[in-house]
């Protein structure tokens, strides 16, 4: 008799509710709802108040994350698992969220002007983060899907938060392509379920070890899952949306997308591929390695020809996704692949957010630009930045050199760690491709510095508007810069923390 039938007359065996396991997520959800209520019933609340509340929610979630730091278990009948990836991703995502909150709080407005972006962006930011931490913790493909939808829906709306045509277009594109990729993912989940009889990653892991399981069906499912994830982390050939979306989206949201979506996306990528599907590594590694090669090279090569900094950062984020895929490709056989990828995500998040913060600062220097592109992020706007705003230019230099991977900045250790993992996994050829891509990428990162440092400012410097008071952005910039340098000089503690994230529970 089927076990379900047995239970018909008995009370339902309700699963134990493990409140502690999801405490940070609960904190985020509560904070999000509270902010919604504040926005609804106190329409005149300033952005400062909303940002403060958001930060308080993040702080609470962070405190609970620390409280849960040593917890390792699978909760809710295998729906979520608490392991190294979960806690590391939680910590990174909450930090990224805090920086993004500061950027959003600064917004686009000058002194005395109303802000174009609606106050709902703060609760949406919290919900997006909730989806991301959930995605990193999800241990069941259904939860993966729902978490992915939570974060994607929030981001679609955030991308279109302003009235600018470019932002609208970006939101629409992001929505259509995101929905498309979700369909692939869902189909992949269905096929995996068909092949293994479960959506639970632990059970899938068991089933892939079982030789009687249906190979072809599972492989088709794995392929579609890969497509879905590659879309989300913007790997080639599923990267087409990234430049348009990053360029059109308001800068704070673009920064948040670039940093946080990658963290969450790669966390789940690692959990599903290196964890649950680790037994099939022979089948999927060539695909992931191939995608890594394409992603690194195409991203770097196309970044070289860009003339808009946001667009260039989008292509740069594509090529960074390629380095991370090297980590994923290595992760199934060497644990260092997991920790290298996690550490890479940490450093990358701060570098790229910092770069976007400089973009946000510089776009305030000129008069608002009302044409389709919206924000002033063309490389022309950076000419002679070093002479006009030495601090902004100095930070820009730090972030660009860190993205290039020049020691002793944080990006260097990350790149190094991924290379190390790649060589350990016997993927030396892939590491050599990564080196070539790094050299290509030096061209465009340097070009920004050439423009900012080596070229004279154009036009009348008096025509430039003052950036206005930027306390929130200033704090965010300082933090991102400090982290990028400090992690570079003393990476030990964070690497050790990443090492503890190597074990995947499933």
């Amino acid at each position: 008799m089927h076990p379900l039938a047995q239970a018909t007359t008995q009370p339902l065996p309700l699963p134990e509710v493990d409140w502690r396991a999801i405490a940070p997520e609960l904190a985020l959800a509560v904070a999000g709802v509270v902010l919604l209520l504040v926005v609804a019933f106190w329409p005149r609340a300033g952005r400062g108040v909303l940002a403060g509340l958001t930060l308080a929610g993040l702080a609470a979630a962070a405190a609970l994350t620390v409280w849960n730091w040593d917890l390792e278990r699978v909760a809710f009948e295998g729906a979520v698992s608490l392991d190294g990836i979960t806690r590391y991703a939680r910590a990174v995502l909450l930090a990224v969220g805090a920086l993004a909150t500061l950027m959003v709080a600064q917004g686009d407005s000058r002194e005395g002007e109303p802000d174009d972006s609606p106050p709902e962006v703060f609760p949406l930011l919290l919900f997006a983060l909730l989806g991301m931490v959930l995605l990193a913790a999800a241990s069941d493909l259904l939860v993966v899907f729902i978490a992915l939808e939570i974060l994607s829906l929030s981001l679609y709306v955030m991308a279109g938060e302003t009235r600018r045509l470019a932002a609208q277009e970006a939101a629409m594109k992001y929505f259509l392509l995101g929905a498309f990729s979700s369909a692939f993912l869902l189909y992949g989940i269905a096929l995996c379920y068909g092949a293994t009889g479960s959506t639970n990653l632990l059970e899938i892991a068991d089933a892939t070890g079982d030789p009687t399981a249906d190979g072809t069906l599972l492989l088709a499912g794995v392929g579609l899952l890969a497509v879905g994830f590659l879309f989300k982390v913007s790997a080639v050939p599923f990267h087409m949306w990234t430049p348009d979306v990053y360029q059109g989206t308001p800068t704070p949201v673009a920064a948040f997308m670039a940093a946080a979506t990658k963290v969450a996306g790669f966390a789940v990528f690692l959990r599903v591929f290196a964890g649950a599907l680790g037994g099939l590594v022979v089948s999927w590694r060539p695909v992931i390695a191939g995608a890594a090669v394409l992603t690194m090279l195409v991203g770097a090569a196309l970044a070289v020809v860009q003339t808009d900094l946001k667009r260039m950062l989008a292509y740069s984020s594509i090529s960074h996704a390629g380095y991370l895929l090297v980590g994923v490709a290595a992760a199934a056989t060497v644990p260092a692949g997991v920790s290298a990828s996690m550490f890479y995500l940490l450093t990358y998040a701060f570098m790229v957010m910092g770069a976007f913060m400089v973009v946000q600062y510089v776009s305030r220097l000129g008069p608002p630009d009302d044409d389709a592109i919206g924000e002033r992020s063309s490389l022309e706007d950076y000419r002679g930045l070093a002479r006009r705003h030495p601090w902004a230019a100095g930070l820009l230099a730090v972030f660009m050199l860190a993205l290039t991977g020049i020691p002793p900045l944080s990006g260097f250790w990350a790149k190094y760690y991924v290379f190390l993992a790649g060589i350990e996994a016997g993927l030396t050829w892939l590491v050599v491709v990564a080196v070539i891509s790094s050299v290509i990428s030096a061209f465009f990162y340097l070009r920004v510095l050439v423009v900012a440092y080596l070229q004279e400012p154009v036009g009348d410097p008096g025509a430039e508007t003052a950036p206005g008071r930027t306390p929130a952005l200033g704090v965010a910039l300082g933090l991102a810069g400090l982290l990028t340098v400090a992690i570079g000089l003393a990476p030990e503690a964070l690497i050790a923390a990443a090492r503890s994230a190597e074990r995947i529970l499933g």
């Binding site: 002793p408 190390l420 080196v435 340097l446």
Partner: protein, 492 residues
């Protein structure tokens, strides 16, 4: 501690310079000069404490840095690196003094020079491969900004070319370093980048070959070995003169030092395997660049090509794999640093006076600026290796080493010596002798006291070390001998 203090004194100076208020840019020069002189003082104390006759590393310091990766802060000097540390410490204050009149953002410029000094010193004293790599790449950043931000018309092109070329070589070396680290960890279970441990670690000859190739990429580009030299004339010509002094005087030694310190002892079999290729490239480079130099009209570019040609001798000496060659190579590095520094200083002084560097714009200068002409003559003769001057000792020893190893190469290289004499003396003759044709040249002022202060130490060193090379050679010999033994060691 002493060595660490020497290493980071310029960096601390750079921070102080950056903190000087913008309104008082002149005091930045004093701060920078003071910092570089403190460094020089520390380096001299270091040399005084150095035990002559000991082949190993001395005065070192070890500390944990990133134990998770087996990376440590490990520094020390031996007979090979000590002269180069001193050379760096001597040339930097001179370069700062040479930039005294600089009007364009002097604070930034001087701070970058000091950062560059720390990075280059770091390369010479690192005994941890990872630390070495970090300093190696760190050299790029100040050099990039010095060339790109303060250089001549085509500075951006030159800076980017320089950066991308060297970055490519550096990253390939990084792959090699990681692979070496990993092989060592596989074999022994200890994760370490310690130089001595990795030298003692036995590597299969086939592994050594491709690891050598990875290191070769970095060192050959940095040196540069022909045909990887194309970034150099652009970079040297476009960089501001005092930067060029440091680039040519010290930075060009990083590559050959890398061969000597890392590529040879770490991969003796790989080095022996590559020896014919490197000797050939060195000789081709000597001859080719000498010929190209002969045809230059811009004196700075001529000196740049002469620098590549002379570095060929150093590579030749090092890859002779015998004591004479290696010892001579190290000595030649010092000699070349002094001489090429002097040549670029004089170029800069002429350019300051006349606003041009083209050889045909000058002529008969001896009559107008006799003192400068005298200094120029000494430096030029030092460069063409007149016996009794510093260049001769290095060139003689490297050629002797090459001769013992392979006569054909030595004979061909000697042709390069003759060509070197031709282009430098010819340029000297065209600029300083002959009729004084140009009106503008009649009223040139002779050396100022500041310029004397810069050139006098160089001239003194060129003469003194030429006559009494023993103190340097004695210190180099044990360490060079050790490298010879490591290189000759039979493969497992």
């Amino acid at each position: 501690m002493l060595l660490t203090a020497t290493l980071f004194a310029p960096l601390a100076g750079a921070l102080l310079v950056a903190l000087v208020p913008a309104a008082r840019q002149e005091s930045a020069r004093l701060v920078a000069l003071a910092a570089s002189l403190v460094t020089l003082g520390l380096a001299v104390v270091l040399a005084a404490r150095f035990q002559t006759g000991d082949a190993g590393f001395q005065l070192g310091m070890t500390a944990e840095w990133v134990p998770a990766f087996g990376v440590s802060y490990r520094v020390g000097v031996d007979g090979v690196s000590l002269p180069l540390v001193l050379l760096t410490a001597v040339l930097t204050p001179l370069a700062i003094a040479g930039s005294w009149r600089m009007a364009d953002r002097p604070r930034t410029y001087l701070a970058l020079l000091l950062v560059l000094e720390t990075a280059m010193l770091g390369v010479f004293v690192s005994l941890d491969l990872f630390l070495f790599y970090v300093f190696w790449e760190a050299v790029l950043v100040p050099a990039y900004f010095l060339i790109g931000s303060f250089g001549g018309e085509r500075r951006v092109y030159a800076a980017v070319k320089f950066f991308v070329y060297t970055l490519l070589g550096g990253l390939l070396m990084l792959v090699g370093i990681i692979a070496l680290f990993w092989l060592h960890q596989q074999a022994t279970g200890t994760p370490t980048f310690d130089y001595e441990a990795l030298v003692d670690f036995q590597k299969a000859p086939s592994t050594q070959r491709w690891l050598f190739a990875a290191f070769f990429a970095a060192f050959a580009i940095k040196t540069p070995v022909w045909p990887f030299h194309t970034w150099l004339p652009d970079a040297y010509t476009e960089a501001p003169t005092t930067t060029t002094v440091l680039l040519a005087g010290v930075m060009s030694k990083l590559g050959v030092y890398g061969f000597l310190r890392f590529a040879l002892p770490l991969f003796p079999d790989g080095a022996r395997w590559a020896q014919p290729v490197l000797l050939t490239l060195a000789v081709v480079g000597i001859l080719y660049c000498a010929l190209v130099a002969t045809m230059q009209r811009d004196f700075k570019t001529l000196v740049a090509y002469s620098s590549v040609s002379h570095l060929g001798f150093i590579v030749l000496g090092i890859f002779a794999f015998n004591l004479q060659g290696l010892q001579g190579g190290v000595f030649y590095m010092v000699a070349h640093g002094l001489v090429i520094g002097g040549l670029f200083f004089i170029t800069g002084m002429l350019e300051e006076r006349r606003g041009t560097r083209r050889i045909e714009e000058f002529g008969g200068l001896q009559q107008v600026v006799p003192r400068m002409g005298g200094v120029m003559l000494v430096i030029t003769l030092g460069s063409v290796a007149l016996p009794g001057l510093v260049g001769f000792v290095g060139e003689f020893l490297t050629l002797l080493g090459a001769f013992l190893e392979n006569r054909v190469y030595a004979v061909l290289a000697t042709v390069g010596v003759i060509l070197g004499a031709v282009y430098l003396l010819w340029a000297y003759q065209r600029m300083w002798h002959g009729p004084l044709e140009r009106e503008e040249n009649r009223s040139l002022p002779d050396l100022t006291r500041r310029e004397w202060a810069i050139l006098a130490p160089l001239v003194a060193a060129i003469i003194v070390l030429g006559l009494f090379p023993r103190p340097v050679l004695d210190r180099v010999e044990p360490s060079a001998q050790r490298v010879v033994e490591q290189t000759q060691a039979p493969s497992p």
